[in-house]
Symmetry: C2
Subunit: 217 residues, 2 copies
DNA sequence: ATATAAATTTAGATTTGTCTAAAATTAATA
DNA sequence: TATTAATTTTAGACAAATCTAAATTTATAT
């Protein structure tokens, strides 16, 4: 239906949309998608012709409902594939994104729905991001970042804000993976670094920078 | 490494190679790949430049070892994905080919090897075609077509020659699927149609045309 | 408010893969 | 063998997606 490239543009624009009314800028799309502004302008015109977004020269773009639908379905496919790669094929959470970038473009409604069923209808991907339903509905997370959690409260690591490979590798190395039970047992006033207790057993220290990028519930 | 299209050409040429020395013709490739002869000539030149095949004007083409390797790896990926779709996602054997045509182009050695492991290193796809190993080795089948089997000999349905969707649907409808135990209990001299016994219980009739396209061991 | 900077768009070119129509080559046939 | 038929290749064009460089518009700053 839509090309590989079109889907990537729509996904990028969807993610860059703050819903604050203002259009997504050409440059931000170019940066996100690793291409040049001139290429973005060309593609925007094409997507506008196809009624996937609204475009006013020099004013940026906004997805139409149709455009949002395509973006959300692509995100759904991406995240379901990530679950498969992680749960079934035992890829690390830092490895799944790249492969899912390819798999998300496989065209078959039936395939993704059968895969979803096979995986037991997962609600979140290996980074804690919610998986939209077949009709595009997002059940929102209500996770909080670890740096806002008070001391001595038991929480579960439920997601990350920073999705970069080095960050994910780091967390994995210090046993901070999705589902990990933990408690903040000390907050250093000076730099807001934290001492954590994992599984009620092991103590580790993390910087505020790391804590800010961890989501818990 | 190689594009979607390049892989499809190499796969087509590989399948059209009879190993009788003569080159694969432009027209046969065009027909196989659903394109025009002129397009084939263009692509052939490109693949020749990349040392994936040997090309002499008006004489057809032959894959180099490098070209064969790419073709075989693509076939390997295709067939492993077919097993996944059939075994894990419960797609019918008539449905798996089309989706595997897309999945076979996903680029990741690790992915296919992990998928292979996840599936328990299958040796055949859902149509009974052998799955080449990681190093491209083919263990050959030694299946025979059902129309050559003598009466009262127990055999197992192990593959098909005709891979068309209608044929596969027909077989499925009359309970002839991979692994089915059967015995030829009557061969009609007139039209060489057969009476079969399935699982030692049910009797069915099939035409010689159908029997010729079924492989057993 | 005007000059400069930043962002965006246009114009023209390129790459990949495709096509049609015409030319060239090979094969088939009388 | 000469002629027709079939196959294959070339030439030129096209669509998708990209790029560079130049032109235009919007934003920023003195």
């Amino acid at each position: 239906m839509y090309s590989f490239t079109e889907e990537n543009y729509l996904k990028a624009i969807y993610k860059l949309s703050d819903n604050n009314g203002s259009g997504v800028s050409t440059n931000s799309i170019a940066e996100n998608i690793q291409t040049k502004a001139a290429s973005v302008t060309d593609m925007i015109k094409k997507l506008s012709d196809k009624k996937l977004l609204k475009y006013e020269k020099y004013k940026g773009v906004n997805l139409t409902q149709k455009g949002k639908d395509v973006a959300i379905q692509t995100i759904r496919k991406h995240r379901i594939w990530e679950v498969f790669l992680h749960e079934k094929l035992k890829f690390g959470w830092e490895e799944v994104h790249e492969i899912a970038e390819q798999l998300e473009h496989i065209q078959s409604e039936l395939l993704i729905n059968k895969l979803d069923e096979f995986l037991g209808y997962p609600t979140h991907d290996p980074h804690g991001d919610p998986i939209p339903g077949e009709n595009g509905e997002f059940h929102n997370n209500a996770f909080v970042s670890l740096d806002t959690v008070e001391a001595n409260k038991k929480v579960i690591l439920s997601g990350v804000i920073n999705h970069s490979v080095p960050f994910l590798q780091h967390l994995k190395k210090i046993d901070l993976t999705l589902g990990q039970k933990l408690m903040v047992i000390e907050i250093n006033e000076y730099d807001r670094s934290l001492k954590l207790l994992l599984n009620g057993k092991i103590e580790i220290f993390i910087s505020n920078e790391v804590a800010k990028n961890i989501l818990v519930k």
